[in-house]
């Protein structure tokens, strides 16, 4: 399992715009490189990132090979209700890395 980092406020006012940061350690192999023997290195990138807020998708992104290793994403959302933020990164090998964070809305 690779390392994923998320940063969300633990607590927010209802209606407050909050910033969410997410980063995952991943090689983001483009598929355009060759190894020392000249063989093509197969593409393996995270092609999909998704964030759910209590099971509702609030943010998603498709990634392409131009994205650097260890992709970092920051985005905003509105704090509506106390609940769970779920993050998912899916790579070309079908591996899905998940992370969660709880938020309390007052």
């Amino acid at each position: 399992m690779t390392r994923a980092l998320i940063n969300t406020p633990k607590q927010a006012q209802q209606g407050e715009v909050i910033e969410i940061r997410a980063m995952i350690a991943h090689v983001m192999e483009t598929g355009h490189r060759r190894d020392a023997q000249g063989a093509a290195v197969p593409r393996n990138i995270i092609h999909r990132f998704q964030c759910l807020y209590d099971d509702v998708e609030i943010f998603a992104a498709d990634f392409y090979p131009a994205m650097a290793a260890n992709p970092f994403i920051a985005f905003s959302t509105v704090a509506t209700t106390s609940g769970v933020l779920t993050f998912a990164w899916t790579d070309d090998q079908g591996t899905i890395q998940r992370a969660t964070a709880e938020i309390t809305v007052v």
């Binding site: 940061r21 980063m23 350690a25 290793a69 260890n70 970092f72």
Partner: protein, 429 residues
């Protein structure tokens, strides 16, 4: 803190013009016999500038050379990490300019306020002006106090950068001495490019040596805005052996990039958390020294693009930039590189003044790091101009072997000391 650049950025052009019009005398030119003597001004008395000034005199004694440096004493950065670790007195880092003067270089202890590139004239704070045929800028780096929210000059008095040797070096040393055993030291390293690429890791090593020997319950966290660094495998292998469990390196992908500083609480805020430090050493982003910015030779990156043969600025003619301030392609910002560039630049300027074509050159960088007092590692490279950049020659260069007997590490530590003695003798002796 001493400034290598000696530039006061806020002085306005109008003020300079006024004082010039008021008839304040220009510095008396040296007496001239026969044809007019070429005059080269070198600004900045560090490894690059002092070397270049001396070498110009050696290359052609008929060239008048003025070295502009407001500080009477230079404090060297290489080995200043050993001062921080208590292994070396700061006095061993001090160098004066008597040797440079004896080599026939005029020393102007002046502060530069403006450079008029079209008139080929340097303006000083006291109103004096000096004409040049060629100008060499060797201002080193300035800390970008605008780059990291919360990190300004006041914060640097609480959380020192110690990336210009001198008062900041001693401040960090005193803080480490005052720290209780069991304290947490937090270092932060910037993204590339910056002065001395292996420097933060040598510093972490030598602070770890101090902690291990004097305050063994302490810990060191190194927050990094990068995922890779100079001599990484060598450093990491040595840390494992010499300082197990003492150094925690947090790379960019581990949330190591510092985005904010709170000096009041000595906190370093990263994208994913925050670190409370007992002693904090913030190595912030940097740029070319202020005089380079004022002269218009720095581009939007804050560094100075140069012709790799002559080190002449790509932005302003007749101004050469050497040392840490220059974009020297693959060459790192090190004292060795600054010294090597300065010699080539001086030779090229002498050739240009004589109307000769510049010769082909090769440059070397060798950079030692101490992981412990008797444990040295190195990186070396050979460079040549290719396609408008200083490019590393592929067949050459590289780092010390990952597997090596203790005797080789010890030899490299000895060679590091010898290098410092030799280069400082050559530049200042």
């Amino acid at each position: 803190m001493p400034s290598r650049s000696g530039t006061r950025r806020k002085a306005s052009r109008r003020a300079i013009l006024k004082s010039a019009l008021a008839g304040i005398a220009t510095l008396a030119a040296p007496p001239v016999l026969g044809q007019a003597k070429a005059h080269v001004i070198v600004i900045g008395g560090g490894f690059a500038g002092a070397t270049c000034a001396r070498r110009l005199k050696a290359a052609d004694g008929t060239i008048a050379v003025t070295l502009v440096e407001p500080n009477a004493r230079f404090t060297a950065c290489p080995f200043s990490n050993a001062v921080i670790a208590g292994l070396r007195p700061i006095e061993a880092q001090y160098f004066g300019y008597d040797g440079v003067k004896q080599a026939g270089v005029d020393i102007a202890g002046q502060i530069v306020v403006a450079i008029e590139a079209e008139a080929r004239q340097v303006h000083f704070a006291d109103g004096a002006r000096l004409d040049y045929q060629r100008l060499v800028l060797a201002p080193g780096i300035d800390i970008r106090f605008d780059a990291l929210p919360g990190y300004d000059q006041t914060a640097a008095e609480i959380m020192p950068h110690a990336w210009k040797a001198g008062a900041q070096t001693l401040l960090l040393r005193r803080q480490l001495e005052a720290m209780a055993d069991g304290g947490v030291v937090v270092l932060s390293a910037p993204a590339n490019p910056f002065r001395c690429p292996p420097g933060p890791y040598e510093r972490a090593s030598l602070i770890a040596y101090y902690l291990k020997t004097k305050k063994p319950r302490s810990k060191l966290i190194l927050l990094d805005a990068k995922d890779t660094f100079s001599k990484q495998r060598l450093f990491e292998a040595a840390w494992k052996t010499l300082y197990p469990g003492l150094i925690e390196w947090v790379p960019l992908s581990g949330g190591g990039r510092v985005i904010e500083i709170d000096a009041k609480t000595r906190t370093l805020v990263t994208e994913f958390g925050s670190h409370l430090a007992d002693v904090a050493n913030v190595i912030p982003p940097q740029r070319a020294g202020a005089v380079a910015i004022a002269a218009g030779v720095a581009d939007q990156t804050g560094w100075c693009p140069i012709d790799p043969h002559t080190f002449e600025s790509k932005l302003v003619p007749n101004i050469h930039v050497i040392g840490d301030a220059a974009i020297a392609g693959a060459m790192p910002k090190s004292a060795f590189a600054a010294n090597a560039q300065a010699k080539v630049c001086a030779d090229m300027i002498a050739s240009l003044i004589r109307g000769e074509d510049p010769r082909e050159v090769k440059l070397i960088n060798t950079c030692y790091s101490l992981v412990a007092p008797d444990y040295g590692i190195s990186v070396a490279g050979v460079y040549a101009p290719r396609d408008g950049l200083l490019t590393e020659i592929k067949e050459a260069g590289g780092v010390s072997p990952l597997e090596a007997p203790a005797a080789q590490r010890e030899a490299e530590a000895t060679y590091a000391q010898a290098w410092f003695q030799t280069i400082t003798r050559e530049v200042f002796g």
